[in-house]
């Protein structure tokens, strides 16, 4: 089998790569890493590109080199050599309004510490909307980087997680949070 000519450079030169992605192995399973010229668009546990095609652009291409800085920082985080991420974020897959403010509040929870659904709802301006805060975190397109795993129930219960509770436990344990 002859190898086909590589098209990535031609696509880059034409400025036509709206979304570049790769699949990155991690201690919490394979992560879909997708970036746009604006920044990191999503980290996803389910490897499904169709929501991106539908709401951002179908010009989606497998270009691991475009995701290098994200992959490096993720590797460092999972090796306990990094506590916060220094990345541009593209929030176009996130909800607007209250949901977006919940993510912003969540992004401020320091490494190795936890908050509650009520806590982030309060920070987002609606103390009683803790259920809506949970829903907003369940739709977080940027888990790990926007650390929704650090948000727990007020009674100490683990709460839910986009990628399943086991992943939440793994991430908390990695950060040294003991439940």
């Amino acid at each position: 089998m002859t190898s086909l000519p590589d098209l990535t450079a031609a696509f880059e030169d034409a400025g036509l790569i709206d979304v570049a992605y790769t699949i990155e192995p991690s201690p919490v399973g394979d992560l879909l890493v997708a970036v746009t010229p604006r920044g990191l668009l999503t980290l996803s546990y389910n490897n499904d590109l169709s929501p991106i095609a539908a709401s951002i652009s179908p010009r989606i291409l497998y270009v691991p080199a475009r995701t290098d800085s994200v992959r490096r920082q993720l590797e460092e985080y999972f090796a306990r050599k990094r506590q916060s991420f220094d990345l541009d974020l593209d929030f176009r897959l996130a909800r607007q309004g209250f949901g977006r403010r919940v993510l912003a509040a969540t992004a401020r929870i320091p490494y190795g510490q936890v908050s509650t659904y009520k806590g982030v709802a309060t920070e987002a301006g609606s103390p009683r909307a803790f259920r809506a805060a949970g829903t907003a975190l369940g739709a977080n397109p940027l888990p790990v980087v926007v650390p929704c795993h650090r948000v727990l129930h007020a009674d100490g219960g683990l709460g839910g997680y986009t990628g399943g509770v086991e992943r939440k436990q793994t991430l908390l344990a990695l950060e040294g949070v003991t439940g």
């Binding site: 086909l4 000519p5 098209l7 031609a10 696509f11 034409a14 036509l16 992605y21 590109l49 169709s50 991106i52 095609a53 539908a54 709401s55 951002i56 652009s57 179908p58 010009r59 989606i60 291409l61 497998y62 176009r92 897959l93």
Partner: protein, 161 residues
């Protein structure tokens, strides 16, 4: 929802899926259409044009036909451009033919007149049916059959030692 750039109701697959599914066949088609030396350029032009136009597609049906229509246009452009240039005395192949490969057949196909060349390449290299060939070449099904038939007759003549 953010960025409504995609027409309502059209769910286009990620472009990478098209590449993974059709890249090899597009290349084979172009090798048959324009020869090994120029196939890579046409291949690149085909995929850049496809990627550029992709978000504006009104339907996710027949993406394969759409791609081969673009590839065929690039091949015809290439032949037109070459016809305007003085012909080289001989084209020197960059690499020797792979023994036992399809190269003889593909080289012979590349020498056919444009419509026969396209029809034969689609039929025998990509296994396309006549309705599909007709769609891709924007001709009638009868014309597609006739072009394949005429092309094969000439090939049989050219390839007979």
């Amino acid at each position: 929802m953010p960025g409504k750039r995609v027409p309502e109701g059209v769910e286009l697959p990620p472009f990478q899926t098209l590449l993974d599914t059709h890249a090899r066949d597009v290349h084979r088609f172009l090798v048959a259409s324009v020869g090994h030396v120029d196939a890579d350029d046409c291949y690149q032009e085909t995929w850049v044009s496809a990627l550029r136009a992709y978000p504006r597609l009104r339907s996710a049906q027949n993406l394969r036909s759409w791609l081969f229509t673009i590839a065929n246009h690039k091949a015809l452009d290439h032949h037109r451009a070459r016809a305007r240039r003085p012909m080289p005395v001989a084209e020197i192949p960059e690499q020797p033919d792979v023994p036992g490969g399809d190269s003889d057949f593909e080289f012979a196909v590349a020498e056919l007149p444009p419509k026969q060349r396209t029809a034969v390449a689609l039929r025998y290299i990509l296994d396309a049916g006549y309705p599909e060939i007709a769609t891709m070449m924007n001709i009638s099904e009868a014309a597609a059959r006739r072009n394949v038939h005429e092309g094969l007759k000439r090939l049989r003549h050219d390839l007979t030692p």
